[in-house]
């Protein structure tokens, strides 16, 4: 029923119920905004689903180009943002959920807000970032055309449980997928590859092919050290970060496939972005330039370009659109405060934090950093993960660190044991004062701010009061 009228074959009571669900969802969104309750990114969906539990399936079936889901520990928001930008540049009108609103209610909210009371949608394509544990719940309802699997790292273990559990959820989600599906998967991550390689449909892989950016050994944050099938230690010919690399199991012979889309000839310019060639084999090559920094964003660009290709975009058009994309909300976002540049680099887990530290240090030793650690549900209530971050790489290279957030003291301790002198560590719980203190010490080049998710929202709130950024429901 993808292209058919929504109401065909449905009893009138169901039609009415969907209209009521959409109407109440929209009213909730308006009310939420009027009350300034954070933009209403999930409540409209919750209300609509309470009225019509099948609202996601009913509305998404009306998208002529179908839907794309994007899953993975790190890079969901950025990849969705990239893909939406590429598709918009080709004249499409994607419907997508707001940054981080990636549970079922967030997806329902996005659909409801973009639907009229007859269930007709304003867009032609759905692009939804999906929380890794929510994949089996929303994928059957959405019936996506393309599913993107970015990476799997430990993240919020208090909420999700173990990585193997998530990989198992992805494997089992396969049963609900259509054989028309294209799974776009990171070849460099053995956990991802093992989780999706037997899903129905076409498998499109992406990876990095540039040994100059290889690390000498697997990092502490590597999750996949032993073969999922037989328990033998993976042999890595090359590792990029975490457990990303050119891996192989010498016992059962499973190995990283030669990627369908490979990034070659990388030039990383620290926090200012990167440039590389996407080699798509028979489909040709294209040079890409992006302001998104770090190796991790090379993967995000590859994933978005691969997904766009499955939706009909040419490699050249997709690559050229990537050049004009601005960072997503809080992800290497730049704002100006009193003539100084502030860059927000979200940190959520050890692997991502390490990559952000590398990006920051690539710009030279920073005079000051602001690190903001919260332990609310959206951040993960357990801050033990700070000890898995290689904070030691800051020792002797950072002049001063201001720490803020609910768990500021935990971060301060981590810094001290990483070799930062105690006198260079400043705990300031008030977000506005912490920002001010860090800005006072920042070099003219600017200030790097490394917050967890809810700390990022809080710091953005301060920046908004200062007139430096727009509200997040306006972005």
């Amino acid at each position: 029923m993808r292209e058919g009228p929504l109401t065909a074959g449905q009893p009138p009571t169901l039609r009415v119920r969907l209209s009521v669900a959409v109407a109440l969802g929209k009213a909730t969104a308006m009310l939420s905004r009027a009350l300034r309750r954070g933009g209403g990114t999930t409540m409209p969906g919750r209300v609509a689903r309470a009225v019509e539990p099948a609202v996601v399936g009913l509305l998404s079936a009306r998208l002529p180009l179908g839907s794309v889901v994007i899953a993975g520990t790190n890079g969901k928001t950025t990849t969705a943002h990239l893909l939406a930008h590429i598709m918009r540049s080709l004249g499409h009108r994607p419907v997508h959920n707001r940054a981080g609103a990636n549970l079922a209610a967030g997806i329902a909210s996005a659909l409801v807000e973009n639907a009229d009371l007859l269930g007709r949608l304003r867009g032609d394509l759905g692009i939804f970032e999906v929380d890794e544990a929510t994949v089996p719940r929303v994928v059957p309802a959405l019936g996506p055309r393309v599913a993107v699997f970015l990476n799997l790292f430990r993240d919020q273990l208090d909420r999700y449980g173990e990585i193997d559990y998530i990989a198992g959820l992805w494997r089992s989600a396969g049963a609900a997928l259509s054989p028309d599906l294209a799974a776009v998967a990171n070849a460099d991550d053995p956990l991802v590859f093992e989780a999706v390689r037997e899903l129905p449909g076409t498998l499109v892989t992406f990876g990095i092919e540039d040994d100059r950016y290889a690390r000498p050994a697997l990092e502490h944050t590597a999750e996949a050290r032993y073969c999922y099938r037989c328990g033998t230690a993976y042999a890595y010919e090359v590792t990029y970060f975490g457990h990303m690399g050119r891996w192989r199991c010498v016992t059962c012979g499973v190995a990283r496939p030669s990627p369908d889309l490979a990034a070659r000839d990388l030039v990383l310019s620290g926090p200012d972005g990167s440039e590389f060639t996407i080699d798509a084999g028979a489909a040709g090559t294209a040079r890409v330039r992006t302001v998104l920094p770090g190796l991790y964003n090379v993967y995000n660009v590859l994933a978005a370009v691969a997904a766009a290709g499955r939706l009909g975009a040419s490699l050249g058009a997709a690559a050229s659109a990537v050049g004009s994309v601005a960072p997503a909300f809080g992800r290497a976002e730049r704002v100006s405060v009193d003539g100084r540049e502030v860059r927000l680099l979200l940190v959520k887990n050890p692997a991502g934090f390490n990559e952000v530290l590398r990006v920051v240090l690539a710009a030279g030793p920073p005079a000051v950093l602001l690190i903001a650690i919260n332990d609310r549900t959206a951040d993960g209530r357990d801050v033990s993960w700070l000890w898995d971050v290689d904070v030691e790489m800051l020792a002797g290279r950072v002049g001063h660190v201001v720490v803020t957030g609910i768990r500021a003291e935990d971060m301060a301790l981590r810094l001290q044991y990483a070799g930062i002198p105690p006198e260079a560590i400043e705990v300031e719980h008030a977000y506005d004062r912490a920002l001010r203190r860090a800005l006072d010490r920042a070099a003219p080049g600017g200030l790097f701010v490394l917050p967890t998710y809810t700390a990022m929202l809080a710091l953005r709130g301060v920046l908004q009061q200062w007139g430096a950024v727009r509200g997040f429901w306006e972005t």
Partner: protein
């Protein structure tokens, strides 16, 4: 960073730490404990040597003054336990009998017990360093997750941290609890006890980086680990200012519900 002086005149003491399965049992920042022990020893002019013993690495009872074992995912833990039983059980038991310190955290705590009783099937043996066993609480039973505060026996300051475990642990007569639960769940969420001690073997559900915020306990482990080869060694006091602030922050939150 030289925050203290050498303490035994001409002799520079050396602390030997053996980190067991750092590539497998490392789920919740477990290595933070080793980072803390290394730094707190070095700040006092004590040299430190850390060896890592993983699958297939043989160890002996004289390798180290302190053995540390963390927790892992189920799959990693199954891989580790086979090697632990086969290659490391004997040397570890000998080391513990000779007075070496063993610190076992979270999943490692379960592994040093006598056995683990799954929801179905036969008991899985542990290495029996501590007289305790762990039971699966049954399918659908919630994991015990949250900030944890315990009051050690013997008047030491409260210990703070985070716990996240599905198994419920019960002590036999040969082990004493590490402390009484002030806030959180502890060993099994029922009897009010947390952790286990026998001699210098310690086990606890205060997982991951337990030592950063519990410097008194960290120094107790250092003193016991070094005391065997360097009797009379005293540890110079450290400022522990950030440690104190981090402890206060957790204690102030203890008992309060975590905002959503």
């Amino acid at each position: 960073m030289g925050r203290g002086e050498g303490v035994l005149g001409d002799v520079t003491p050396t602390l030997r730490i053996c980190h067991l399965y750092p590539d497998l049992l490392n789920l919740y920042g477990d290595r933070g404990n080793v980072i803390v022990l290394v730094n707190r020893a070095r700040w006092r002019g004590i040299e430190v040597a850390v060896t890592e013993a993983t699958l297939g690495t043989p160890i002996t009872a004289n390798d180290a003054d302190l053995y540390f074992i963390g927790g892992g995912e189920d799959r990693q833990q199954r891989v580790a336990v086979a090697d632990l039983l086969q290659r490391k059980r004997g040397p570890l038991a000998d080391a513990a009998a000779a007075g070496a310190v063993v610190l076992a955290v979270c999943g490692g705590y379960q592994l040093v017990g006598r056995f683990y009783r799954p929801a179905e099937g036969e008991d899985l043996p542990g290495i029996g360093l501590l007289d305790l066993w762990t039971e699966h609480a049954g399918p659908g039973t919630p994991r015990l997750i949250g900030n944890l505060v315990i009051q050690p026996e013997g008047g030491e300051p409260p210990m703070v941290g985070f716990e996240n475990h599905g198994g419920r642990t019960y002590l036999g007569p040969g082990a004493k609890p590490l402390g009484r639960v002030v806030s959180g769940f502890g060993n099994n969420g029922r009897d009010g006890w947390e952790g286990a001690v026998a001699g210098h073997v310690y086990g606890t559900y205060l997982h991951g980086p337990l030592l950063p915020k519990n410097p008194v306990f960290a120094d107790r482990l250092l003193r016991e680990a070094l005391g065997r080869r360097y009797p009379g060694l005293e540890l110079a006091p450290l400022p522990d200012a950030l440690e104190a602030r981090a402890r206060e922050a957790v204690l102030a939150r203890a008992g309060r519900s975590v905002p959503a």
